[in-house]
Amino acid sequence: MLELVTARVRGGLVALGRVGQFLSDVVRALRDTETWTGLTLVQMRRIGAASLPIALFIAAFTGIVLALQASYTFTGAVPLYFVGTLVGKTIMLELGPVLTGLALAGRVGANIAAELGTMRVTEQVDALETLAYDPVSYLVVPRVLAATVMFPFVVALAAVMGVTSGWLTAVNLLDLSTVEFVRGLKLFYQFKDIWFGLVKSMSFGLLIALIGCMKGLSVSRGAEAVGRATTDAVVLSAMMILVLDAFWAVVLL
């Protein structure tokens, strides 16, 4: 029993040490600007622009459902213009960043882990090293920076889409005018609603890319290991997004 506990603790410490080493490698690699500058722009397009359709799709339907459910909940008790308040607040503060983050954990996190894992098992990562490149500068830094920078843009556009679809639903399916919806939207609005969501999404981007890269590069051999790394990256990212979401709520709200 004691041996088992010791082994578990040792395993945990080793894993923690690996994470620490990986993060310190990433920080060190930031100095190698010559390698990552151009590659980051490519990744910004791949991670940011290419993620927009799924983010907008999710946001559009979230806005519709939020408007309808708010109306259903408020019936008779709360003025209907509060639909605008609920749609705006919920999308900007919570559902925009978190739902987009979870979707992108699947799309971006899985993509990064699978790509880097495949590169690892096909010795492409070793090839980079023998060609005098630091794989962290070449592969990790561009993805991490791109995700950190682009996630807030994607989430901001998703939030606009969510509020717009909520407004269109309110106007077309509920007994609510545009003026009333906007009145509700502005009612408890604070600038913090916007930056809070963007700070969260930036941290989600950073986290998803770091986890995807770390899982991908830690693949040892074989297709099965790539599959496992990909699944682990998505699951861990999703869990950490929820933990981080709670963390920001405690710290910033």
Binding site: E123, Q124, D126, A127, L128, E129, T130, L131, A132, Y133
Partner: protein
């Protein structure tokens, strides 16, 4: 000069290298011969610091590889071309981009890069394939691009990891010819790990037989062909009898 000095390496409980000692002289092509899984590629990866020895050291040009800091290791790697077993081309890049990849770190101007790419691809008979992607190439062509990528760097050393494995005899002969051509044209020192005995005879100045993690015998092609060591004989003749039988028959004779 590349020196393996009493190198030990194990993966978990499985020992792979057990006191490997071998010198590769400047200008020669040394073939490390051995069974599949005997640790040939593991030995090669120590030369560029992709693996670190558990004990012992690999010395390149007087520098102990595993003791180098990142900067000096990068400088060492810049002097070494590495041809991977399955080419390890970056599959998101074209042939040209793969060959340019290593050159881009060397501060060469565009004209010089173009010149080197053209020269390297011509040397491996792949001129005109610059814009193709690795997925569009055969296994033999990919290996040739891998060789071109290494040659374009004009390195002091080229390490070939199983360059003919999985290729048909004609394509294998083409690869062998390229290895010989690389040595003749750019005077590079080569280390070739292979289990292909015909290839070893063609490209090697000397052959070292790696067996159970250590060098069983090292000698010129002629010396290896005439060896009386039963383990080496069995390998080069491709006889299926048990290796342990051959060792027992040899009864105490050294490499």
């Amino acid at each position: 000069m590349i020196q393996f000095r009493d190198v030990y390496k194990a993966f978990g409980a499985k020992p792979v290298l057990n006191g490997l000692t071998l010198d590769v002289q400047d200008g020669e092509t040394m073939v490390i011969l051995g069974y599949s899984g005997s640790g040939k590629s593991v030995a090669l990866k120590h030369v560029v610091g992709l693996l670190e020895p558990d004990a012992g050291e690999v010395v390149v040009d007087g520098e102990v590889v595993h003791q180098l800091d990142r900067e000096r290791l990068t400088a060492l790697r810049a002097r070494i071309g590495y041809v991977f077993q399955f080419a390890a081309l970056l599959d998101s890049m074209t042939v040209r981009e793969n060959v340019v990849l290593g050159l881009a770190r060397r501060g060469l101007d565009e004209r010089e890069i173009d010149e080197r790419v053209g020269e390297a691809l011509a040397l491996v008979d792949l001129a005109g394939s610059e814009d193709r992607y690795p997925a569009e190439l055969s296994g033999g062509m990919r290996k040739r691009v891998g060789i071109a990528r290494a040659i374009a760097l004009r390195p002091r050393y080229i390490l070939y990891d199983e360059p003919t494995t999985g290729l048909d005899p004609v394509t294998s002969a083409v690869i062998d010819r390229l290895i010989v051509r690389a040595r003749e044209r750019i005077g590079v020192t080569g280390v070739v790990v292979t289990h292909d005995i015909r290839s070893a005879y063609t490209v090697g100045d000397r052959i070292a037989m790696l067996y159970r993690g250590t060098i069983r015998q090292v000698g010129t092609v002629e010396q290896i062909q005439k060896t009386h060591d039963p383990v080496v004989r069995q390998f080069i003749e491709g006889r299926p009898e048990g290796v342990t039988d051959a060792e027992t028959a040899f009864a105490g004779a050294g490499p």
